[in-house]
């Protein structure tokens, strides 16, 4: 079974955040770039499926040259090939169009990705691409069971502790939830060795995505700022003993 894992490079620390002049994206300085958490779980699931059923794993990331690091990380974890698409759009429509165009260039039975990226928190790109390609999909998948070469059964979350078991014919796209497999540790030596491996890169021209498709349409980001708080939180101060005593009093009053 050949699997494409879509993994996004996301910043752990964001500074100088502002809206771009055209209002179509957020500008910021991102540091501590790393693989998006649920995408890493998608990669772990791919590794488990590969071990059981064979095939090749292609790690795919969309982003600038800095995002290449997550691909080396995926290779170090056990991905066979790496592909980067030179596209930094934050717009979900644009990103899903580009992802769909990229997937048509790759051979796969299954596409795995996470549920949402920690930066944009949109959760749209995976299923958007599946819909464009006419692939069946499932979101918030917590278990994958390969039936044969043609179908898989997955368990997905419905919320509130409920689940559904869904059968999908291949090829299909799954958005993987965190926790599906334990995360494995990658020794630093392997991460260094992985940097020797080639990364195939596609430009948007290579993919034949028309320029018109790359312009976000229909909205403008007017502001980005810390959330307004529902009410002012009362902060307790002092040493741990004083705080504990105050907390206990307030807890007893509330019961």
């Amino acid at each position: 079974m050949n699997i494409v894992v879509c993994c996004k490079s996301v910043p752990g620390l964001v500074t100088n955040l502002d809206v771009s002049t055209d209002g179509k994206s957020l500008q910021y300085q991102g540091q501590l770039l790393a693989i998006n958490e649920c995408d890493e779980y998608a990669l772990e699931e791919a590794l488990v499926l590969k071990k059981a059923h064979g095939g090749q794993i292609t790690a795919l990331s969309m982003g600038g040259i800095k995002s290449q690091d997550v691909l080396y990380y995926a290779l170090a974890k056990g991905a066979d090939k790496a592909v980067r698409v030179d596209c930094e759009s934050q717009d979900p429509q644009v990103a899903s169009k580009v992802l769909a165009a990229t997937l048509t260039q790759l051979e796969f039975d299954l596409v795995l990705t996470g549920t949402q990226a920690r930066d944009t928190l949109g959760g749209q790109v995976g299923i958007g691409a599946a819909s464009r390609l006419g692939l069946p999909f499932a979101y918030a998948v917590v278990a994958v069971d390969v039936q044969d070469g043609k179908t898989i059964t997955v368990r997905k979350e419905l919320g509130g502790g409920r689940h559904a078991d869904v059968e999908l014919s291949l090829p299909a796209l799954l958005c993987i939830q965190t926790g599906i497999q334990p995360l494995t540790f990658v020794p630093p030596a392997r991460r260094i060795r992985a940097r020797q491996q080639p990364v195939r890169s596609y430009s948007l021209a290579d993919l034949g995505v028309p320029d018109d498709d790359l312009v976000p349409q229909g909205y403008r980001i007017v502001a980005v700022k810390p959330p307004e708080r529902a009410h002012q939180v009362e902060l307790l101060q002092g040493n741990a003993q004083d705080i504990a005593a105050a907390l206990l009093t307030r807890i007893q009053e509330s019961l």
Binding site: G123, R155, P227
Partner: protein
Amino acid sequence: MARDIVVLVEHAEGKVDSVTLQLLTAGRALATAFKTQLIALAVGHRLESVSAAIQGHGMDRIVIVDHPSLALAAGEVQAQAIAQAARRIDPRFLLIGYSLIGMELTPAVATLLGINALTNCVNLEIRDGAVTVTRPVFDSTQHAHVALDENERAVIALQKGSFAPIESSSTQAVVESVAIDIANIPARSKVLAIIEAPSGGVDITKAEIVVSVGRGIGTAEKIPLIAELAEALGGVLACSRPVVDVGWLPRERQVGASGRTVTPKIYIACGISGAIQHLIGMREAHRIIAINKDADAPIFGVAHLGVVGDLFEIVPALTKAAKEAKAG
């Protein structure tokens, strides 16, 4: 004629999810502002009880798409059915609840309709005729405010709790059925079974005091520290998703969108940053106490009482005080 506003009814086993009445509040405001109709769209099978439950809740029309194969349809099939119905209505906005079900359907429906989807929205406002939504970004530490262009159509997916439920009135909506072409919807995926939330074991939803632990605890070895506080206060131990994902506590203890929703008298969040998925499961608690070392953590946005500090100092001190109070 202005395009209508459609609310997608979320339902399971004949029962309407509470998010639907919240979406109808937002939908009513949009319909009034744009002088158009509000339509509730229900897709599934045997929808009599669903239709009855929403009747009289601010909508002008209820549109039913009923077919046996929609009783237990996979996301792809549901999305196609919703998109077909939406094409008939041709609405300006389609409002969907950003539940786990809505998360799957929203991007698919928007793609099929060829319009934008704005997901994970926590607010929707109409200012000078422009619709603006608020959506969290960067681990919910920031909110982006996004204004839709004039006359722009969109699917808007709103988080549960973004609006109060709509009041019912005596005005009855017209109920109509819309037939769709189900035969041509590709059925490459099907639901085999629904697995209800397991009963038995610990029920964190029944406790008056919930002491909840998050990623900030750092290691599994420190969990007993929080368990001890829960015990000293006579409460139960719960947690946020990351703690379950790494296997430190079982799934039945998870609070949040994919876990349980709790409304205890007191909810103590220890080392929980407060991602929206967690807040959904606990923000209705009567008193929320947050202990976190990061003063900017979103949990302080819902907490009544907060401590910005080291939970490894505060929690043992509170446990000790609680034990002494009990003994004394």
